[in-house]
């Protein structure tokens, strides 16, 4: 993990992630003020708008930095070095994912903390921390899995965007049949429920939704583990 933290600092990945989250929250605010013409932005509106930005534009925003963090090791021909220090495809991948997620988690916490302090409103802090973390973890896992399979960053970003657009279209066609592919998508059933919770005094989502999100993330991790299982040789070949 130490190596990955060091690399994320020297490659400025951590700074780019920080800038992305600043942009995400600012966009959440200015969409309300600029497009929706809201004159009095309440914390609930601000949080929900930022959450919408994260779910609707998050994959586009984060795909570059996540793909870069993984694909750079292929383009730099570093895979044999990872083997040298005793890593395998699983430890290589999960350490990178863990570092990206921990850094994102820190920025999400900081962002929510600052906004909550500005409004003196911490009523939905835990829920928002959970939701934002889940959304970002989803992106990290999906883009990470695609990146570990793709030989270069452009292909990784391209495939990630195609995946995202396909999932949005499928959910728009039928959220009952394809809802599981993109649970956070605005066209899905959970989205309006989250809006209702944020506008009410109710501090948490229903247990069904929480369970669904956890199940969804576990499913991505399982799919990811299967993909990695069958990519051991490919991992070395792409790194040579």
């Amino acid at each position: 993990m130490k190596l990955e933290f060091k690399k994320s600092i020297s490659n400025k990945v951590i700074i780019i992630l920080g800038a992305m989250f600043v942009f995400l929250f600012l966009l959440g605010y200015f969409l309300l003020v600029g497009i929706d013409k809201v004159s009095n932005v309440t914390p609930e509106m601000f949080f929900f708008s930022s959450y919408t930005v994260a779910t609707q534009f998050g994959l586009m925003l984060f795909s570059f930095v996540i793909a870069f963090f993984i694909n750079r090791e292929y383009s730099n021909k570093n895979i044999l070095f990872y083997k040298l220090i005793g890593e395998n495809i699983y430890t290589f991948f999960y350490k990178k994912i863990a570092v990206l997620f921990l850094e994102c988690f820190a920025f999400i916490t900081l962002g929510l903390l600052i906004i909550s302090l500005m409004y003196h409103d911490f009523s939905h802090f835990a829920l928002l921390l959970f939701l934002f973390s889940a959304v970002i973890l989803q992106y990290i896992l999906i883009i990470g899995t695609i990146s570990v399979l793709c030989p270069n960053i452009l292909i990784s970003i391209g495939v990630s965007i195609v995946y995202w657009m396909t999932s949005v279209i499928l959910v728009a066609i039928s959220n009952k049949t394809f809802g599981f592919i993109a649970p956070f998508e605005a066209g899905n059933t959970m989205y309006p429920r989250i809006e209702r919770v944020l506008q009410s005094d109710n501090m948490t989502l229903g247990s069904n939704d929480v369970l669904f999100i956890i199940l969804y993330l576990v499913s991505i991790i399982i799919i990811n583990a299967i993909v990695l299982r069958f990519s051991k040789t490919r991992w070395i070949k792409m790194g040579l």
């Binding site: 130490k2 190596l3 060091k6 730099n76 044999l80 070095f81 040298l84 070949k237 040579l240």
Partner: protein, 209 residues
């Protein structure tokens, strides 16, 4: 190390056909050949086994040091050595670092900002720590300055003297390697790897090929 009837095909092109690979321990086995004959593919095959002729005992006992095996360039020398010292014998690191004269490399500078020769030395140090018995060097002196090339030649001479159990395969098209480091001499010739006992004869074949 002996591999009989070795054939290597990459993307339908036959690079080596029914040739015998015989490399000795305790000396540098130089393999020369012109660009495109398949030198680097041979080097990679020791790990990837595309030929299906490289046994597990060989694959698991090979260190490949080539342009295909880099060290992270987004950390500094100091960080790298400290990191490696947690995984490998610190005495061995000090010894190889001394032989490669790594003291004159600025420890705080990111590796990507070092010269090619300095990067190459750090790469040699890192991959030799694996302490594998078969070491495949693929064009490691390519495009390096003369001083660094001489230092690497000197290092390899000392290293093989101190580690006579190792098989070092030096794949190169830099003929100065052959003169500077004594060993066995092989050439890629008509889809075979042929051994020459005389450096001059091999150079003649290489030039007239």
């Amino acid at each position: 190390m002996n591999i009989a009837n070795y054939t290597l095909k990459v993307k339908g092109k036959t690079l080596l056909q029914d040739t015998d690979l015989h490399f000795s321990s305790g000396k540098i086995n130089h393999v020369v050949g012109k660009n495109g004959v398949g030198k680097s593919q041979l080097a990679k095959d020791f790990l990837l086994n595309n030929s299906k002729r490289i046994g597990r005992d060989i694959r698991q006992n090979v260190s490949l040091i080539s342009s295909s095996s880099n060290i992270p360039n987004d950390v500094s020398k100091d960080f790298l050595l400290h990191f490696l010292s947690k995984k490998f014998d610190a005495k061995m690191i000090d010894k190889i670092a001394y032989l490669l004269n790594l003291d004159n490399i600025d420890g705080k500078v990111l590796i990507k900002n070092l010269s090619d020769g300095q990067k190459q030395k750090l790469k040699l140090l890192s991959f030799l720590l694996e302490d594998k018995n078969i070491i495949v060097l693929d064009e490691i002196t390519n495009s390096l300055d003369k001083k660094t090339v001489i230092e690497i030649h000197g290092f390899l001479n000392k290293y093989i003297q101190e580690n006579p159990e190792k098989i070092i395969i030096n794949i190169t098209h830099d003929l100065s390697d052959l003169k500077a480091i004594e060993g066995d001499y092989y050439i890629f010739n008509h889809q075979e790897i042929q051994q020459y006992h005389s450096v001059d004869k091999l150079i003649e074949v290489y030039i007239n090929e």
